[in-house]
């Protein structure tokens, strides 16, 4: 009798708790469903339609024709090629430099703390400010970079305007912005490695270089996996930085010179928001999603297999 009443009381209390949970959750859930779940499904639907806001506002289901159009769109191939170039360059160079930086700033001396403090600043700067600064640095003739290089005998190079040097120049800016972020995460990983392990190796006669290859790097693998994945996802979706660096304020497609720095997302942006071919743009964005998820899974298999 008494037990039954207690059970009932507990039951009503659980119901009260669940009710309050719903009250607390509802503001976020409403926003989440409207701006996170609905756009996902809406975008998927759009990718099977011919919605083109410049010409008419009526939507027709066109099956897979947007996706077959992707296959024959030479701009897709071009922008994917550029994006791969950018991603390989900025992730490859970025991770190597970040590893070197992380090893170098592991410590508490003045110069360690100085670099640790400084290296994160570029990561916090916005794309348009970064672009303004670096455009001046890369400027032909009156830019400081060329001034220095010409002083030691190099020819003048119009870094961002030359078809060969434009992408490497953009990659260097991207590496500069991400260096601190990647470096600090890798540093945290390096500091998590117990110092006894490294000391034991040193006592066994391993030099710092050997210790790095045989001890630090293997133990760093899970964090390295995270940093590479994160860098890849970011680089493959590159827009703001590349756009602001290589696209005039009145350009249509952008990616100057002559589409050599037109990334996939910049093309997607042009299709959806300049040409207003929303349906086709949505299809392009879903291809991007497939690529990113696919590569992340493959990477996880190769790099994160042990963890």
């Amino acid at each position: 009798m008494k037990l039954g009443r207690l059970k009932k009381r507990l039951h009503t209390q659980a119901r009260r708790e669940a009710m309050w949970a719903l009250v607390f959750l509802s503001p976020y859930l409403i926003i989440f469903i409207i701006w996170q779940i609905f756009p996902l499904l809406y975008g998927l639907w759009l990718s099977f339609t011919n919605l083109d806001l410049l010409h008419s506002s009526d939507v027709k289901f066109v099956g897979l024709s947007n996706f077959t159009r992707i296959l024959s769109d030479s701009f897709v191939a071009l922008s994917l090629k550029n994006t791969l170039y950018f991603t390989a360059g900025s992730v490859g160079l970025g991770i190597v430099l970040a590893l070197a930086l992380a090893s170098a700033m592991n410590g508490t001396s003045f110069e360690n703390r100085w670099v640790k403090w400084v290296c994160f600043i570029p990561y916090l700067m916005g794309a348009s400010a970064i672009a303004i600064v670096w455009k001046r640095i890369y400027l032909g003739y009156s830019g400081p970079l060329n001034e220095l290089l010409m002083a030691v005998g190099f020819p003048n190079i119009a870094w961002l305007a030359d078809t060969n040097s434009a992408m490497p120049s953009v990659i260097i800016v991207s590496v500069w912005t991400m260096l601190g972020f990647n470096g600090l995460i890798l540093l945290a990983g390096i500091q998590n490695i117990p110092s006894e392990v490294k000391e034991a190796a040193m006592i066994d006669g391993a030099g710092p270089w050997t210790a790095f290859w045989l001890i630090t790097l293997p133990l760093l693998k899970p964090i390295l996996f995270f940093v590479i994945t994160f860098a890849f996802i970011g680089a493959f979706q590159a827009f703001g930085l590349v756009y602001a660096l290589t696209t005039g304020w009145n350009a249509v497609y952008g990616g100057d010179p002559l589409y050599h720095t037109l990334t996939y997302v910049m093309y997607l942006y042009a299709v959806a928001f300049k040409n207003m071919q929303v349906g086709y743009g949505a299809a392009l964005s879903w291809l991007l999603m497939a690529i990113i998820l696919g590569v992340t899974l493959i990477e996880r298999r190769f790099l994160g297999a042990e963890e």
């Binding site: 708790e17 926003i31 701006w35 996170q36 916005g126 400010a129 640095i137 006592i203 827009f239 991007l288």
Partner: protein, 311 residues
């Protein structure tokens, strides 16, 4: 554990001894460089190169300040001036008188602050039940919400634009930040932290008959001060620097955020005599970020650990 397979780990004492002496031999090599050993020279070179690396990282910011203080003749001269020989503040006056930079600064402040307040409110109210209350399907709901962090932002941009357009929110403050409020990062950050607070802390308050709102407000929130500051700073900076979305939803000059206004300032000053204004514009973008970094460095860099968990 992984080193167990490694040939470096060898328990044979005699071998250890020989390799130890081998390793030490380069240390004993004498050197005459200012009376320092070769190791000392290397150490000083290492210190110097790190300090120089830091200066190189900062160089682009220095260059912006440098250019913003030069006259038009110096900025456009054939050979660059490495420091402002005759510093002038005329560009700083020009952005107020000619470019009306106050408007975009105010727009960006309004949007960044509103967005931060909304995200804090939504994240707190959603993280509390997910971390500390019991209700059916809690785990499933959390998994669904968090898994949407995997979706590349670009997939959501086109539908979000159409929704913003149909709701009449283009060229409005709400249109600039409301579509991004569903991003579950804040909720994730706070749920992790709230979940670690011991249950006993709120038991006594419950005994006294305190309601859930009361417990959340007077017990949980004060304990979450650190992550809340982190989240607030990240959200503010994210909105301050936001580039792609404002570029898409704003085409009214008066509604532009600072980042976009400064980007378009380049077009306005192209070939004109006002080119120095864009450097001042860039400084306006960077300065608040630097100040926030100075004050909240610990919170910003500390949040990297949270990001790690996400991966």
């Amino acid at each position: 554990m992984k080193i167990g397979r490694n040939p470096l780990e060898d328990n044979d004492f005699s071998r250890k001894k020989t390799t130890l002496s081998n390793a030490k031999s380069p240390l004993s090599t004498p050197s005459t460089f200012f009376g320092l050993g070769s190791v000392g020279v290397m150490r000083i070179l290492g210190k110097l190169s790190l300090i120089i690396a830091g200066l190189l990282i900062l160089f682009p910011i220095y260059w912006t300040v440098n250019l913003s203080l030069q006259t038009i003749e110096q900025i456009t001269s054939w050979n660059p001036f490495w420091f402002p020989v005759t510093p002038t503040l005329s560009w700083y006056q020009a952005v107020f008188s000619k470019a009306n930079i106050i408007q975009p600064v105010m727009n960006t402040l309004i949007v960044s602050i509103s967005s931060t307040v909304c995200v804090l409110f939504l994240s707190i109210t959603a993280a509390y039940p997910l971390a500390r209350l019991r209700f059916p399907m809690r785990g499933l709901l959390f998994t669904i919400i968090i898994s949407t962090m995997m979706i590349p932002e670009q997939v959501l941009i086109i539908p979000r634009y159409l929704m913003t357009y149909r709701l009449g929110l283009l060229n409005t403050y709400a249109g600039l930040f409301v579509p991004y409020l569903g991003w579950p990062f804040g909720l994730f950050l706070l749920t992790q932290f709230m979940g670690r607070i011991p249950k006993e802390i709120e038991e006594s308050a419950k005994m006294d008959g305190a309601g859930y709102i009361n417990i959340l407000w007077s017990i949980i929130i004060p304990l979450c001060k650190g992550p809340l500051i982190t989240l607030g700073v990240i959200e503010f900076l994210g909105n301050w620097n936001f580039f792609q979305w404002p570029l898409i939803v704003i085409n009214d000059d008066n509604m532009r955020t600072l980042a976009i206004a400064v980007f378009f300032l380049q077009g306005k000053t192209r070939g004109a005599a006002d080119v120095g204004m864009i450097f001042v514009g860039a400084i306006f973008c960077i300065l608040p970020v630097l100040l926030i970094y100075l004050f909240f460095q610990r919170h910003i860099v500390g949040s990297l650990g949270q990001l790690q968990m996400k991966g």
